[in-house]
Symmetry: C2
Subunit: 300 residues, 2 copies
């Protein structure tokens, strides 16, 4: 199977490295320079003390023709519009597209794509891009995928074909799959980013834990969760399991990059708005993060 | 007039330095060592490039007899209980006591003191303790004082006696004087501490400004302010004037010290509780700060 990977950030490099063992992979990067470096060096993937080199073909995104059998879009949610523009101008539409963005912000955008098989997924791996062609895999996890619309079969054969040390689980219901991840991200990412703490501190510090539960309660009320206690248990479980990790949003803030706050909190705030529900904490947390992102506007 | 200054932190050293030009001042420090150092070196007060030395008598707090004509209590609110214990055990009660704590938390404690003249004040100076006997006066302001209970006259003669470069204004109503300062502190101190920003950024960053106004609205509702727009204007004015300053609470957090959050936000949260009003933002901000204070407790 020919597989295209769009985006050569940490998740793009990680996926390309693992699945290139079994599939014929081409990775598409934003810049020509990065494609050149990947072609020169291969992709280096570091896991603890071991470094593996994979030989993967790389091209700049402008060279993407959409001719692979299966394509994985790994760019951040806020870069997705640009990718969708490219898709619209391809002469041949790609057949099978898997989108791995956080949050729910991309769902609206995907509804505009017609006539091809669309899949969505959530990634639970910890990965850090070290340079243009090196990624460290510092948190083992799994990938969940589900059908968004169209035909199921290519997703199934992709998921069963991947190596066993990089598991991909097919889920029945894309909405609850994305929602589970969204709730976890909506609580852990913004709070760790505001407080500049590792995930574990949110449950080890009793005051931070109060904030966590208050924020969770607000989210649970807005999303009309049927079993909030299970979701809260999941949030706590992930704080425990990833206690020593810095969340992706915290890393973005520390590196003075844009964050995924609009994709993650923006969706829940819109829901609150539609249902005419108050969301004081969520709004507050949202503004804290927006104010810390690189583009700031003056008011007075 | 003999004046006692209780507490040799930044405000204690600043007051002792200025008023020792006109009054006979004894400063009381928590430790013997600091008293020794002040007696050896005098108090050095740095203002821009100029350093002034004042010769001030210093004693440890255990040697305080309460015999001065006028005593200024400059310790932090959370150290006040200890000072009040000392007062209760003095054989002669001091005649005139001025309390310079932030917030409203000390008012309840002062109601227990009987039979002497009690005054309260708010300090608008910026001061930083550099070492045991050196303070830098890096923000010129004024001190406001008012009668809390008892006789007015000593406060008046103290206020008119101070040097003109260290003005002390007598106010009619202690409650509105403390409340004005409280509102400013309740907005600026916690937000700058959570965000790790200078005061000015709260109004220069449009997202932080949204948080500021949301928090202000909640406080205004809880405190039943008659003219909220005037208080908000004052908050903005102070952010502008002190744009380059780091708030005292931010400095406390950065130095891993206790903060005055209980004296400042605790009072407003109690008010909310009494009136059965919701205070989601205030609670949230309170927990953020409590979680950043040195003593942290685990929950899970």
């Amino acid at each position: 199977m020919k597989v295209g990977v769009i985006g050569a950030g940490s998740i793009g490099l990680l996926f390309a490295s693992y699945i290139s063992k079994v599939f014929d992979v081409t990775i598409y990067s934003r810049t020509k320079d990065q494609a050149y470096q990947i072609n020169e060096n291969g992709i280096l993937m570091r896991k603890k003390a071991v470094v593996k080199q994979s030989s993967v073909k790389a091209l700049p995104i402008s060279a993407w023709k959409g001719t692979e059998d299966f394509t994985i879009v790994t760019v951040k949610q806020y870069q997705l519009s640009a990718v969708l523009e490219v898709i619209k101008h391809l002469s041949i539409l790609p057949n099978n597209l898997l989108f791995l963005q956080n949050g729910m912000g991309h769902i609206k955008l995907l509804e505009e794509i017609k006539g091809i098989n669309l899949f969505v997924g959530t990634v639970e791996h910890g990965a850090l891009k070290e340079n243009a062609f090196t990624v460290s895999h510092n948190g083992e996890g799994a990938t969940n995928v589900a059908l968004f619309k169209g035909d199921f079969s290519f997703l199934q054969s992709f998921a069963t074909g991947v190596p066993s040390d990089f598991p991909i689980h097919v889920q029945e219901d894309y909405y609850s799959m994305l929602m589970n991840k969204l709730i976890v991200n909506a609580v852990i990412n913004p709070l760790t980013s505001i407080l500049h703490v590792k995930n574990g501190e949110l449950i080890q510090n009793k005051y931070f834990f109060r904030v966590l539960t208050n924020l969770f309660d607000e989210i649970s009320f807005i999303l009309n969760l049927d079993h909030p206690e299970e979701h809260l248990r999941q949030v706590i479980e992930i704080c425990k399991k990833t206690a020593e990790n810095r969340s992706s949003m915290l890393k973005d803030i520390e590196a003075n990059r844009l964050t995924e706050v609009d994709a993650i909190l923006g969706f829940i705030l819109e829901e609150a708005n539609k249902q005419e529900k108050q969301a004081p904490l969520l709004e507050n947390v949202y503004h804290f993060i927006k104010g810390k992102e690189p583009a700031k506007g003056g008011v007075l």
